[in-house]
């Protein structure tokens, strides 16, 4: 460019200088000019040249600044597209630019639209909670509940069985790639998400019973709301993903706190009663099992004893049978004598009554005064008869 601009001027020495690309140097040009022209013209020419070069440098600098101002970075959590004259560059919905350094024409030619796809967005529900003031919230206190709920100030949800509950929750979601619709098609996409979220809570409450929503099936309530929200998001083509409902609080109206507390108390009492009854059941049955087992074993033992006893008797009988058959009298005498021997030996006290030669009958009167082993009682006089 500098070549072309400097071709027409007739003065050759400045051209050589400029063509060599060296910075303006007054001492270098001076000797060549001296020979041809007078000093006045030379000074003018010199001044013109140096100012022209300064302007050129400034202009070049401006061009560089202009071009560099088109550089932009896309963060790790972002994607971006470039709108050239308002239309996405790259055809269709535009080419999605990933993290890194990119270049676009500076405005008004290009506009960079950033899409925060990586960041988790969150919105709070705004319809289900009773009225509080920022001051009260900061202080951690609450306004005392009024007798009724003000329709505009106090938020609440109507349940399927026409009861009133309060609810609040936080919704977390991410903008799904490409996310263009989320950024460009809605004037306020997060507001749309919030409304859809409120609507989902309303929708879930409208089909839930108060007890289920508050206690038994909070997870189901949350899931119902989440599914509804997912459905509305896909109907609107919002392009959001990883929808998650957090910090859900479902409470009865404060006006009925005590009444609801009484029910929970009753439920606690009930479960305690049931637990007691169950442990009674366990104990009773295990005790009965043990007893039953013992009884069965006793029966078994009795059977064994009986069988063994009889077997032993039968043995004794068959062993003795030949001897008995060979001489009955002797056998009987022998056995009797043996037994008496054992009996006499075992008996602790022996009393022998002698009968005088004429008498046929006599009686004995005994006074027994012996401590019984267990009951330490004195037994009353007991007459004993001896034949």
């Amino acid at each position: 460019m500098s070549d072309i601009s400097l071709q027409p001027p007739p003065a050759p020495p400045p051209r050589r200088d400029a063509a060599s690309g060296a910075p303006p140097r007054s001492p270098a040009t001076a000797p060549a000019a001296e020979a041809v022209e007078d000093s006045g013209t030379q000074a003018l020419s010199e001044a013109l040249h140096s100012s022209f070069k300064i302007v050129k440098v400034i202009m070049l600098g401006l061009v560089v600044v202009f071009l560099f101002s088109g550089l932009f970075t896309v963060g790790q959590q972002e994607r971006a597209i470039v709108l050239r004259f308002g239309v996405p560059v790259g055809g269709g919905d535009g080419k999605l630019l990933g993290p890194g350094l990119h270049w676009a024409f500076p405005p008004p030619v290009d506009e960079v639209v950033r899409i925060p796809v990586g960041q988790v967005q969150h919105v709070d529900s705004s319809i289900g909670w009773y009225a509080t003031t920022p001051a009260a919230e900061a202080a951690g206190t609450e306004l005392p509940p009024a007798e009724s709920l003000h329709p505009v100030n106090d938020g609440y949800l109507l349940t399927g069985d026409e009861n009133i509950i309060h609810a609040k929750a936080t919704l977390r979601y991410r903008i799904a790639e490409p996310g263009l619709r989320y950024v460009l098609h809605f004037a306020n996409a997060s507001n749309v998400v919030q409304n859809a979220f409120n609507n989902a809570l309303l929708y879930a409450a409208a089909r839930y019973k108060v007890d289920e929503a508050l206690t038994r099936d909070q997870a189901g309530f949350r899931e119902t709301a989440r599914l509804r929200l997912e459905q509305s998001a896909s109907e609107l083509d919002l392009g959001i993903t990883e929808i998650q409902i957090d910090n859900m609080q479902l409470i009865p109206p404060r006006q009925l706190k005590d009444a609801f507390a009484r029910v929970s108390e009753a439920e606690v009492v009930r479960s305690k009663e049931l637990n007691e009854a169950r442990s009674y059941e366990n104990q009773t049955i295990s005790k009965a099992r043990a007893e039953a087992e013992a009884r069965k074993n006793a029966g078994e033992a009795e059977r064994t004893r009986l069988v063994e006893f009889v077997a032993a008797e039968v043995d004794r009988f068959t062993n003795n049978l030949p001897a008995y058959r060979s001489n009955r009298e002797l056998f009987v005498e022998q056995r009797r004598a043996e037994t008496l021997q054992v009996v006499y030996a075992a008996a602790q006290e022996k009393i022998v009554l002698f009968k005088g030669p004429g008498t046929t009958n006599h009686s004995l009167w005994l006074q027994i005064n012996r401590d019984l082993p267990r009951l330490k009682e004195k037994e009353p006089d007991k007459p004993k008869d001896a034949h």
Partner: protein, 299 residues
Amino acid sequence: MKRNPITIAVGALLLTIFFLLLFLFQVRTTELAVVATFGRVTAHAGPGAHFRWPWPIQSVHKFDQRIHTFEGKLEQVLTSDANNLLIMVYVGWQINDPAVFLTRFNGSTNRAQDSLEGLIRNAYSGVVGKHPLTHFISTDEKQLKFVEIEQEMQARIQADCRALTNGLNIAFLGIKRLGLPESVTKLVFERMESEREVRVSEVKGDGERQASEIRSRADFASAKLLAEAEAEATKTQGEGEKIAAKSFEVFRQEPELAKLLLDLKALEQLLQERATLILHDDMAPLNILKSKEPAGPQK
């Protein structure tokens, strides 16, 4: 004279930029534009760069094409079963026809939303009034028409927009709030409170009933276990007796001997410990002392 070519180049560039600014306008992808020539709409323009004659010949009006959310007011509506219901909806709307929008609302979003508010109010009375309360809230899925009502209202407002040709399109509609008049909430509280009382007694009664059921079930089960065990034990014992009875057959060969043996054993067992024997002098072997006729053993 020396600077001519570069000056011409720069001048041409500046001139181009100036004319571009003067004759071109750009429409962002989120916008719609109309071009008016001497105040009359003569062309529509989509996103991109477009040519125009400079002011005062042509002027360009740009409109936001994005979907705006507008929330209606909380209104009290009578349902078909004469319940007072407070309802509030949100509507997503966008400009459908910028030329109509421009003439209708003079390009003002606020005026469009005012008009929408009227349409929403019509939809409240027209749609909500046709449904009973159970279509809004019900534990019975079949009765609930929550989504249908939303669709019905959207269709109605959309139809109204078409009929009015106001250049608006309704993208979505949802119920934002459902409520009851303030005085009714108090009644609901009273009803809820009495329901709670009923629930307390139900829970109590239920607990007691279940507990006693469990206890009696336990008692019954244990009695049954014991009875079964008793029966089994008796049966086992009976088996033993049966076996014993069979063995007794052997004793028939010599009943005398059997009796003798059993008697002797019984005697032995009877007099095993700490017994006191009172003996007659006629008994063997004491009779040996008398050397007279013998007698049977006596206790």
